[in-house]
């Protein structure tokens, strides 16, 4: 617990039923580190996936196909991978001293963090329906649990951490660009075709235009060209003559 306390991740853990007995949480220290074998860890991941889906839901059609991605469609769980986090944390001096166990077993530690975050969620779930894990709560009780958690400054720490992971995964394009496309940007690349997709010029209905072969002027005349570079040259600033500041090469004089 001390180790996780350094990360600011551990918060009060209540009694839980089907998940590990309370003693396990206090026993989390490098000497007593049996978590790789503990079956509950995969349950912890399931709990986090359930929480991510409440924090930033996937929207599905009647057949269950994702139509608007959510946290779990953009690799949010991987944002919690300490195998990634540890080298960065060390460089960033985020932690004053990194416990040696992080060098030996970052993946194991990774699981421990997930375990504790999930335990926090289960503690919140307990208040909604005793002896029920967060992932087994009905949706409205999961939401009520998060409402309660965000309102409690101590418990909000872990939830804010999870929310930050959603933020980064969705807008950072870390694992997948689905979040960025979902908020309205054109696709970013076509790996199969081995090209980057610049997104411009395009038509107003989103079709990519080949600037080399198509007649941009004609498309512009028809009013169907969506190309900032073609029809949106910035207006000049009155009274300022850039020629007194930069030379023809584009450098400051």
């Amino acid at each position: 617990m001390k180790v996780l306390g350094l990360l600011g991740l551990g918060t009060a853990c209540g009694v839980r039923a089907e998940d590990p007995p309370p003693g396990k949480f206090d026993a989390l220290d490098p000497e007593d580190y049996p978590y790789r074998e503990v079956d509950e860890l995969t349950q912890a991941e399931a709990t986090l996936l359930a929480a991510f889906d409440v924090l930033l839901p996937s929207e599905r059609d009647a057949e269950g196909r994702v139509i608007v991605p959510g946290a779990n469609d953009v690799g949010t769980l991987d944002m919690l991978a300490l195998a990634n986090f540890v080298p960065a944390a060390r460089q960033l001096n985020l932690l004053p001293v990194l416990p040696a166990i992080l060098d030996r077993a970052p993946e194991t530690f990774d699981e421990a963090v997930r375990f504790v975050l999930a335990a926090d969620l289960d503690a919140l779930a307990f208040d909604q329906r005793p002896f029920t894990a967060f992932r087994h709560l009905p949706r409205e009780l999961q939401e009520a649990a998060l409402d309660e958690g965000f309102a409690d400054p101590e418990r909000a720490v872990g939830l804010t951490f999870l929310r930050a992971a959603c933020f980064l995964a969705y807008l950072g394009g870390s694992d997948s660009k689905a979040g960025l496309v979902a908020i309205g940007f054109p696709p970013f690349e076509d790996a199969a075709a081995n090209i980057a997709v610049r997104g411009y010029p395009r038509t107003t209905d989103g079709r990519l235009v080949d600037a080399e072969t198509e007649d941009l002027a004609a498309l512009a005349a028809q009013g169907v060209l969506d190309d900032y570079t073609y029809n949106l040259a910035p207006a000049p600033t009155l009274g300022e003559d850039l020629a007194t500041l930069i030379d023809a090469n584009g450098d400051l004089l």
Binding site: P87, A156, L171, T237
Partner: protein, 553 residues
Amino acid sequence: MFDVVIIGSGFGGAVAAARAGLFAQGSGRRVLVLDKGIDPTGRFDPLSDGPPLNEQGNRFQHSLAPDYLTELGELFTDPRGAYRSGVPSMNVVTGKGLGGGSLLYDGVSLRAPSLVFDQVRRGRRLWPAAFSRAALQPWYRVVEQQLRVHKLEWTDANVPHWQLATKRDFVFAEGCRRIGATAAPLKLATFQDANEGWWNQGQRFSGRQDLTKNYLSTAHAAGVELRTGHDVDTIAPTNDGYVVKGVDTRGGKKVEFEIECRVLIVAAGAIASSALLLRSRDHFVGERTLDRGDEDNGRAVLGQHLSSNGDYGVTGRVGADFERAVESFKGKPMSSFCPSFWPEHQFILIPFHAAPLYPALEQITTMNPPEHPNALGRGSTKVAERGDGKRARNWGADFKRQLTEFGTRSLTMGCLALDACEGEILADADRVRVQWRETSERTEERWSAAVDAMRRIYEALGGELFCDNYRKDGTVNTSHPLGGCRMADEATEGVVDPFGEAFGNRNLFVMDGAIIPSALGVNPSLTIAAVAEHLMDRLIRGDGTEALADRLA
């Protein structure tokens, strides 16, 4: 025994490698480059570690995973202040691997303005007398040719589509116009790029002209040996040259190495070169001391005079009118700048995309609850009343709406300015630190004017500036460190002479950002490379200094 060893392969080291390689080609002389990072191409050092080669034939990934990013970059901080509110601090991000900073840089290639070279402190010119914009012009031209530097354009009048500024820059230009300033397109080291983003993670699809495509290819073709994973720990003089000691980390092993050479060129970047000399200084005694600062006045030189190049970044969002127009995530990370404030305040403004770098450069602002004044996305994630009278949540469907609003409107801006080199580099056996002593009044004035201008731009665009870590807790963030081993006419003022040669140490050169004696106020790579071109030319020709051939005879 090598004839020439070069430590580091960024803008200084790559130029030195190419020029030394061409000089040595066919003569039987041996030139070696050591770099502690990976070979992103797999072509130069077949033993290089690193992520697997992708279909495009390089090791780059579109990934923000920190373990990947730490293969390409390094962060130096002041552990006393880092990430602690209210404690002034400094963070420096640098590149790592064959190509150095070019592997993740934004490609901005500006010549330093004339007045930079004429700066004076305590009655003395900061730059050696031989250096001026005019003197460097031919070398700027050479580097621009090598790096295929292109001036971007706003419209597609006469240039191919890939040579245009990004959509974000049009929003910035409009903001500048509204506050009575003007934006202009930048010069970039780019060729036929497909508006691929991800420049700070290493581009998969090419376009940006990183150093592996030009100088390092030249060096390799000329027979220069390039070794990756070689982390140099110390250097020391020998009877007829230098010995370089360090650890070869390739293949997941740690094997100590010792390499001897006649001529040694240190080019590990401003921070690492200074740190290397600091770690090695006990080997350089008496006449060979590496620091001849004015001891009577207690003024050291080595590790001092570190400039942040006046970097100052802020984040904000623009108003709904510009929704989606910012498109920050796509294309070139920097492609326009505003020079309007240079004559009065000596800073330029640049809009840029750096969101992925934020966890590294700034505090993890996304960790803050949205109500917190420094929360990234505060403006768009504030707790609002919902239509149905209920309080909007910071999560769930409301969160998604907020992310959509924020993601389409966020815009990062920064200034580059002349500072007074207030930083310092400290190194002991196992740690390198940087610190920012105190911001000088003049720097403070310039930064205040710059932040004021940036705030006005956000507001003129109907948005707000909400993330300013320097104002909040004095954190200076830079990716443009300069100095630490400054070049000077006098030994008491600098570590190297105007030829880049360490005072009192024949055949020991420093040739990278560490020798640049002042802030440049513009992005520095072009100047670092132009200075290296100039120094290598004089060294090879023996112009004013002993010719390289004679040194190796």
